[in-house]
């Protein structure tokens, strides 16, 4: 039972990181029908940007204000990179065949991943200890302050995003653009600004996810983006890609699934089990758990 509760806590923590990153994938896919392969590497880049902000800008301060500033600065930097990425690599290909945009995304991913390597080096770096190592022992289940912060902040961001998309006019524009871009344009929605907005939101959520990965796992490498990006993308698909609550649900499910595999089976088989889960879900529900069953457009 202890293992169960412990892995439940770990799973929710990993799951909320997956969910934050998955939101970036799902929002871009929802509007542009494009797998933004560079998103995972943006997440990795954010951890390195956070590291540099900590050492160069903040002078290694770990006060609450400094930590908040690191999160905000990293989010702003990544949002700017996200917008540049969309302008240069994706916008020129909006009318091109689908696969051309996919290859462009793969190219962007290679640029960011290897850009990190060229700037910060190929070796693993240790992310600073921004949050004090505080642990609580709740009857055999150990929970750290970092886990509590990750869970609380992710929950806060996801509720915020949900309310933004469901209740505001800009959110309605996002939803409209993801249903039908042309119709949205006819209704006077500036789809280009919607796409820019999506990249800003997605990249900054991904930036927070990247800092969480740094805080939680400590070791960060230039090529970790593929790993976390792929998991987050699977989370988005499991939930039903294009669907915002679906990404949150998928992230949590995948986090829990991974934690239980690691706890009860073996972490060396985690990837294999994750993909088997994905394939089974896709065979049973080809558009994910919350995805709508839409007929292919003719």
């Amino acid at each position: 039972m202890d293992i169960f509760l412990q892995q439940l806590a770990n799973g929710l923590t990993i799951g909320s990181m997956f969910a934050l990153v998955a939101l970036g994938y799902t929002m871009v896919y929802g509007v542009m029908r494009l797998i933004n392969f560079a998103h995972g590497d943006m997440v990795a880049a954010s951890a390195f940007v956070g590291l540099t902000i900590y050492t160069q800008v903040m002078g290694q301060a770990t006060s609450l204000v400094a930590v908040i500033a690191i999160f905000l600065l990293a989010a702003v930097v990544m949002a700017i990179i996200g917008v540049i990425l969309e302008r240069l690599a994706y916008r020129p290909l909006r009318e091109a065949p689908r696969l051309s945009a996919v290859v462009s995304a793969l190219g962007a991913s290679l640029i960011i991943q290897n850009g990190i390597m060229l700037i910060w080096g190929p070796r693993m770096r240790i992310f600073p200890e921004l949050v004090p190592q505080v642990y609580w022992d709740l009857g055999g289940v150990v929970i750290s302050l970092i886990q509590v912060i990750i869970l609380a902040l992710s929950f806060f961001l996801m509720v915020g995003l949900y309310l933004f998309v469901e209740k505001t006019r800009m959110g309605a524009a996002i939803r409209a653009s993801s249903i039908d871009q042309d119709a949205a344009r006819l209704m006077g929605i500036n789809v280009n600004s919607v796409i820019m907005l999506i990249f800003i939101i997605g990249s900054s959520l991904g930036a927070v996810g990247g800092l969480f990965i740094g805080l939680y796992y400590r070791g960060i490498t230039f090529n970790m983006g593929w790993q976390y990006g792929l998991y987050a993308f699977i989370a988005a698909i499991i939930g039903g890609i294009g669907n915002i609550p679906g990404a949150m649900l998928g992230g949590m499910l995948l986090g829990l699934f991974n934690a239980f595999i690691a706890g009860y089976v073996s972490s060396t088989w985690a990837d294999a089990f994750t993909f088997i889960l994905l394939i089974v879900i896709l065979i049973v529900r080809p558009t994910g758990i919350l995805g709508e069953r839409v007929a292919e457009k003719v």
Partner: protein
Amino acid sequence: MKSIQRFGYPIFFVIMALLPHLLDPRWQAVAITFLIFSVVALSQDIVLGKSGMFNMGQALFFGIGAYTTAILNTQFGWPLLATIPLAILIPALFGVLLAGPIVHLRGDYLLVTTIGFNIVFVQVVQNNLGGITGGPNGIFGLDSMSLFGLQLSSQVDVYYFAFAVLLITLWIMHNLEGSKPGRALHYLREDQLAAESIGINTRIYKIFAFALSAGIAGLAGTVFATQYSAVSPEAFNFMQSVLFFSIVIVGGSSVPGVLIGVFVMFVLPEIFREFATWRFFIFGFAMIAAMILRPRGIIPASFGKIPKFLIKENRHGA
């Protein structure tokens, strides 16, 4: 396109046939790599380019072929060339079994599932399932080639083996184009619903494309295992699949385009070795630039003899 077929191919074949005698051993090895990866990229083209199925796991079938050869040779003592039939059949069988349940999935879902197959495969061989895949180090110490007692252990022999495999692949691709399955695949790529409604069994043809492509990639795997006398999991990881995927799309799914793509991805880095750390950084820009400048690929494939005025430009692609 026609002039390429009439003059380009003979010149290419003659140059490739003479090549090993003009190169030193290091460049012979590079040339063999070019031939092997060309075969894999062309096999990827059957599924991705010709049939329009988003497969991003071609290294899986390449790897199954290579591991089949390596296991049969080291564990069971089969001569390398005798493993060829199984190194084609086993990947093809996996192609059927794995593609069967997923070919109905829409483009991007198919893409992610094939990535998944590739990653599961690498994890399986890394964890040494059944104790025959050699774990993270792979399998080494394969025999060299022999045919009817004749030892073919030199690099030049391996080169001609690889070249023969490339010629067979090109011949298959050429025949596929005009054959019934080839036309069916082309049709279902352009418009699956229309293909279905005139009675093409799209499911069967899609699985057929996967099996054919997997078989060819498996054969390339045998050549790969022969060249290095070893196989290891990293050679077949997901990054390789990404490269094959990109080569087909950037090349434009035509034979010359794919060959140019393989040359750029695998031969140029050998020429510019001092820029090794910059390799993928530069490739990233090159991929984006190539797609923006030529969204249909460097040399787009043309199909059949449709008069120009009948071709309606399909702006949204597959």
